[in-house]
């Protein structure tokens, strides 16, 4: 009666790939953080999808709830790091953060 779970899995895999590519290719601190959010969201989608397939409990949705809370904490910390990094380098480009490389 409903949409197949496989279409959600394919969509989640593609969204995770998009987020991972964005994290690796972009060099802007903020856009990299947004890519992390994309990856977290694709995992949330899979959790809710599998919970729909096993509808006798709400474990997947509770897990998603916790992941959303962790994502909020992660975004707050990441943005604070972005501000600290910007004050340090006067730029949001992560290529410039090579202090530990030399």
């Amino acid at each position: 009666m409903d949409i197949e779970i496989s279409s959600y899995i394919v969509l989640g895999a593609l969204l995770f790939g998009i987020g991972a590519i964005g994290f690796l290719v972009r060099r802007n601190f903020l856009i990299q953080l947004m890519s992390v959010e994309l990856m977290l969201n694709s995992v949330n989608l899979l959790l809710v999808g599998f919970n729909r397939a096993h509808a006798s409990s709400h474990d997947g949705q509770v897990f998603t709830f916790v992941v959303i809370a962790i994502a909020a904490a992660e975004a707050a910390l990441g943005l604070a790091l972005a501000i600290a990094y910007y004050r340090f380098k006067n730029s949001a480009e992560t290529d410039l953060g090579d202090l530990l490389r030399h």
Binding site: I21, I31, N41, A55, Q61, V66, A73, A76, L79
Partner: protein, 181 residues
């Protein structure tokens, strides 16, 4: 019911993919944030097709309402920053990582896309506020309380990171002429 659900699914899936690509392709961070807003909204629609109404509301409230506003605040604080054009040296690792991640994601989609799990019958009130609340307080009480601690610790960490001056800033203040790194 079923036809409208699959129509909603296709619409939201195409929207999620397109706005996700827009997020990582946008040159300005503010445009990326706007694409991310569309992406989060389309994910809320996808949650609705999975009959997770409470999570769809939480998604809009927490992600679009709180996290994205935080992003926009920080973009406004540190200004728009354009990515410089990719240097020739950085082209190889970027292409390699794109190809590798793309092959990984596509093979994952091809293999796991064959999973055939029948959607089970929905119990009464599945995904509603009452059901999720009962699950949170009966099954996951300790994790739920731990979320509060995690958020408090995160706020304390943010205060520590964003408030103090770095050692390099302090040394710059002590010796204003010595701007060399």
């Amino acid at each position: 019911m079923s036809a409208s659900f699959s129509l909603l699914f296709s619409f939201a899936a195409v929207l999620a993919l397109a706005s996700g690509l827009g997020t990582i392709a946008a040159r300005r961070p503010l445009r990326a944030a706007m694409f991310l807003l569309v992406h989060l909204g389309s994910l809320a629609l996808l949650y609705l097709t999975l009959s997770a109404q409470f999570l769809a509301a939480i998604q809009v409230l927490v992600y679009a309402g709180a996290i994205l506003v935080l992003f926009v605040f920080v973009i406004m604080m540190i200004g728009p920053g354009y990515d410089r054009p990719t240097s020739f040296r950085a082209l190889f690792p970027k292409t390699l990582s794109t190809v590798l991640i793309l092959s990984l994601a596509l093979s994952m989609a091809a293999i796991l896309g064959r999973v055939d799990l029948p959607m089970s019958e929905l119990p009464e009130g599945f995904g509603g506020v009452k059901a999720i609340g009962l699950a949170l307080y009966r099954v996951a009480t300790v994790p739920f309380e731990l979320i509060a601690m995690v958020l408090t610790v995160a706020v304390l960490g943010v205060l520590g990171i964003a408030r103090k001056k770095t050692a390099i800033e302090l040394s710059r203040e002590a010796a204003p002429q010595g701007g060399e790194e």
